[in-house]
């Protein structure tokens, strides 16, 4: 036999009179419910009907003034009795003015929902923080060049070893870097997002394993057996959370790794959420010091302050600069508390503006609701005057108004939570950025909504309460009409003015922000992206161990693409114009300074780019400097290089040449993986793989002395390397630095 909705039935059992009276009503409802369920009809309609009846009965019995004392319930305290009476009054008012009440609820629900979405962003940045145990003791170490071009640069492997060995204030010193690697399964490969970390990394972060163990110090020693630690997400999605995953073998690249554990899901925050597998990072002192590709975290020893650790590392950095001037001169070490890593240096400004916008939104909503409540209070002046004449004190009347507001805001909050959840789902579906997928509605957001539900009624009940307190009830009672006076009041005018002012502020700020974004996107870059399709292909070391093999496969892929009907030009590039990976390396120019000065006077930006020979002619590319010639023809599959010059500043005096560099030769692991499985790993990757024209970042990056780069210097060839590939590229480009420096000098 079909059962009615249990929650609705429970609600009825709590609201209806006790004893056989209430039970018989419930029995009547069940009898009619079963009659509706007859004939094999679907249960949706009867259940909906039952809920409808339950809610209507609840509303009726809650608002029905009790004519007889409840015999079976104990006598309540006067305060509870007054509270119940106010609640009944509020429910009666809701029934009596459903239009106004619904408008108030919808207004508050939309405002609280929107504010909750905004709070979810701030919560992710401010309160969730990084997956670190006791973050006040954890610091991140950066390499910063003295000219300020990089304030949070990465650290080279040998420098990391020196800092680790010489520091007396830090413990659990660890480094890691992120990249990609090929997982080989049954002869097929798929790309994994991998983080290579030293053995102390998880102990520095204070994060345990949920299965097996994390990386240990012995794992990153030379000759140690290769082990891997899975991320919790990868373990769940790819291995269905099987406990026998620990101990299995994985072929990653050319080596077979043994899975030794699964790391806690608490690690999956920010970029760390993208990592599939953690592998040990082996660092040797023989590496290049100018290849700065490691992130560096450590814990302060007990009793050590942040300032003393920063001073010690600065001293070590100065010693290294003296010891290795070619690679370390001009670089200093910078210690940053890991809690400050979320966002940039001025991230708090963004968050503050965000929270300010939320506050404005709530202020507008409460002003609007306050206006509505005041109108209703004015219309109820006679009713309230009668209550005052019967002995109700003004405090009691104000309390009634507040309780009415609380009831409305509670309903609005209950609607705001699903509205906010829906909004976050829409945002996540529209944006490929992983940060939007980490926005959730959890205890923090529920607390925020509850706080707003408590705060809003207090705010929007103030103005009506003040109006009531100032009203002469005798005049109201003496006035004609049963609904009280509707004469205009100063409080309402103030509310309207405040509401309009707040709305204008918010709209102005929003329109300015939108205008800025639109202008950034409208900045001409010279990129003709019409009819350009973009995709990313990867080769891997396992399938193409030799560079020539990967190069041949890349060329074969290009030729195959050029034969596809409808394809006009197919070309490949290691880095995107504007969006590609690039780094900045200072080069002191000690010769031909007059020519450099002439160059600076003629153009702030000196740009060259090298793509596949001959390909740019098909596009009508006009070189700013130089012509395509045999030298270019000999270059195959080279990247883009842009040279920027500016005067030496910040007190140095000598002209400096700043070179934005990109790799000439792409590493094999980011080359196309022809003939293999090119399917995106997940929907998120699929979205990320599509072309992105992030002109905002480009405009900020290309600028020199505050001016944007000439758009004609930049053209699209092939777009669409993923961010991971760019990061990977950034980590490898330092190996060609000396050769490029020579070339740049020749160009000058």
């Amino acid at each position: 036999m079909n059962q009615p909705p249990r929650l609705a039935d429970w609600l009825l059992s709590r609201v209806l009179p006790l004893g056989k009276r209430g039970e018989s009503i419930r029995g009547d409802l069940r009898e009619e419910y079963r009659a509706m369920c007859g004939g094999g009809r679907p249960l949706g309609l009867p259940n909906l009907w039952y809920w409808h009846q339950a809610l209507r009965l609840t509303l009726r019995y809650l608002t029905e003034p009790s004519r007889t004392p409840a015999l079976s319930t104990p006598r309540r305290s006067p305060m509870l009795h007054d509270l119940t009476s106010d609640l009944r009054s509020a429910l009666r008012l809701f029934r009596r003015t459903p239009g106004t009440s619904s408008l108030i609820v919808v207004t508050l629900a939309l405002a609280i929902g929107a504010a909750t979405i905004g709070f979810a962003f701030a919560d992710l940045a401010l309160f969730r923080g990084l997956p670190v145990d006791d973050p006040s003791r954890v610091v991140s170490v950066f390499a910063a060049d003295t000219h300020g071009a990089q304030s949070r640069g990465r650290v080279s492997g040998p420098d990391y070893l020196d800092y680790r060995d010489r520091s007396q204030t830090l413990e659990r010193v660890s480094a890691f870097r992120q990249g990609r690697a090929a997982l080989i399964v049954d002869g097929h490969s798929r790309t994994l997002t991998v983080s290579w970390a030293t053995g102390d990394f998880f102990r520095a972060m204070g994060q345990p394993a949920v299965q097996g163990r994390t990386l240990a110090n012995a794992d990153d020693a030379p000759g140690a057996p290769p082990v891997a630690v899975l991320s919790h997400r990868y373990w769940q999605e790819e291995l269905a959370g099987r406990p026998d995953a620990v101990g299995r073998s994985m072929q990653i690249g050319r080596a077979n790794y043994t899975v030794v554990g699964v790391v806690t899901p608490a690690m999956e925050v920010g970029n760390l959420a993208e990592i599939d597998v953690w592998l040990p990072l082996q660092i040797t002192a023989a590496g290049a010091r100018d290849v700065r590709d490691l992130r560096f975290v450590a814990r302060l020893r007990d009793g050590v302050t942040f300032a003393s650790a920063a001073a010690e590392l600065a001293a070590i950095g100065d010693a290294l600069a003296t010891q290795y001037p070619e690679s370390n001169a001009g670089w200093r070490v910078r210690l940053v508390p890991i809690s400050d890593l979320m966002g940039g240096d001025n991230f708090w400004v963004v968050i503050a503006l965000f929270l300010f916008s939320i506050g404005l939104l709530i202020a507008i909503a409460t002003a609007n609701v306050s206006n509505l409540v005041m109108v209703r209070a004015v219309a109820r002046q006679r009713e309230l005057a009668v209550r005052a004449a019967l002995g109700a004190r003004s405090g009691r009347l104000v309390r009634q108004l507040v309780i009415e507001g609380l009831m409305l805001s509670t309903v609005a909050a209950a609607l705001a939570v699903p509205a906010a959840w829906l909004g976050l789902q829409v945002i996540a579906s529209l944006s490929p950025d992983p940060v939007f997928h980490q926005l959730v509605i959890d205890a923090h957001e529920f607390s925020f909504v509850a706080a707003l539900a408590l705060l809003c009624p207090l705010i929007f009940s103030v103005a009506p309460a003040r109006t009531l307190a100032r009203t002469d009830m005798r005049q109201v009672l003496a006035a004609t009409g049963s609904r009280g006076s509707t004469a205009p009041m100063r409080g309402r005018d103030v509310l309207v003015v405040a509401q309009v002012a707040l709305a204008v502020i918010l709209l102005t700020a929003s329109s300015l922000a939108l205008r800025s974004v639109r202008q950034v996107f409208a900045t001409p870059t010279g990129l003709d992206t019409s009819r350009v399709l973009v995709f990313t292909l990867d080769f891997n070391d396992a399938q193409y161990p030799a560079e020539e093999q990967s190069r041949a496969a890349a060329l074969a892929t290009r030729e195959a693409l050029s034969r596809v009907a409808g394809v006009d030009i197919s070309t490949m590039l290691t880095a995107l114009p504007i969006l590609g990976a690039e780094g900045i390396a200072p080069i002191t120019v000690d010769h031909d300074v007059p020519r450099l000065q002439r160059l600076l006077a003629s153009s702030p930006i000196h740009a060259r780019r090298r793509i596949e020979a001959g390909r740019d002619h098909h596009r009508g590319h006009r070189r700013r400097r130089g012509r395509p010639g045999p030298q270019d023809a000999r270059r195959r599959l080279v990247g883009v290089e842009r040279v920027e010059c500016r005067r030496g500043e910040r007190g140095r005096g000598e002209p400096l040449l700043w070179r934005r560099q990109r790799r000439d030769r792409p590493p094999p692991d980011v080359f196309p993986r022809a003939g293999l499985d090119h399917r995106p790993r997940c929907r998120r990757d699929q979205r990320r793989g599509r072309p992105r024209h992030d002109r905002g970042r480009a405009a900020a990056r290309v600028g020199l002395d505050g001016r944007a780069a000439p758009a004609r210097d930049l053209r699209p060839e092939v777009t669409g390397r993923s961010r991971r590939a760019r990061e990977r590229g950034a980590s490898r480009r330092g190996g060609h630095r000396a050769r490029r420096a020579d070339r740049v000098s020749r160009d000058l």
Partner: protein, 110 residues
């Protein structure tokens, strides 16, 4: 008729429906009878609270019997109109007829 037992319009309808249902004046049937006679479906909330109000005024009396399986054993009430209820109905009818009388010229349908 004392002021205490003054009948509202809906109360009169419910009392009359109980009388028309006879011995089987269960709430479901009474409500159905009200709906049939007036062409308007009263809400259950208004109907049950009116029954409670009539009970409080001692104009109706109810007894319970064990519920059937379709009611999951929940009791079923059967209502009867008390003598006070009958008196109130008579008084109300009389008052209304007094008020109606002599107005046929105005209220009769053309």
């Amino acid at each position: 008729m004392g002021g205490r037992n003054f009948l509202g319009e809906f109360e009169q309808r419910v009392l009359l429906a109980i009388l028309r249902c006879g011995d089987g004046a269960h709430p479901i049937e009474v409500r159905r009878e009200v709906m049939r006679a007036t062409g308007h479906e009263p809400s259950r909330g208004a109907f049950y609270t009116t029954l409670d109000r009539l009970d409080a005024k001692q104009l109706v009396r109810w007894t319970t019997e064990a519920g059937a399986e379709k009611r999951d054993g929940l009791p079923q009430r059967t209502f009867v109109v008390t003598p006070e209820g009958l008196r109130a109905l008579r008084a109300s009818r009389k008052a209304l007829l007094e008020l109606w009388s002599g107005l046929d010229g105005i209220l009769s349908e053309q």
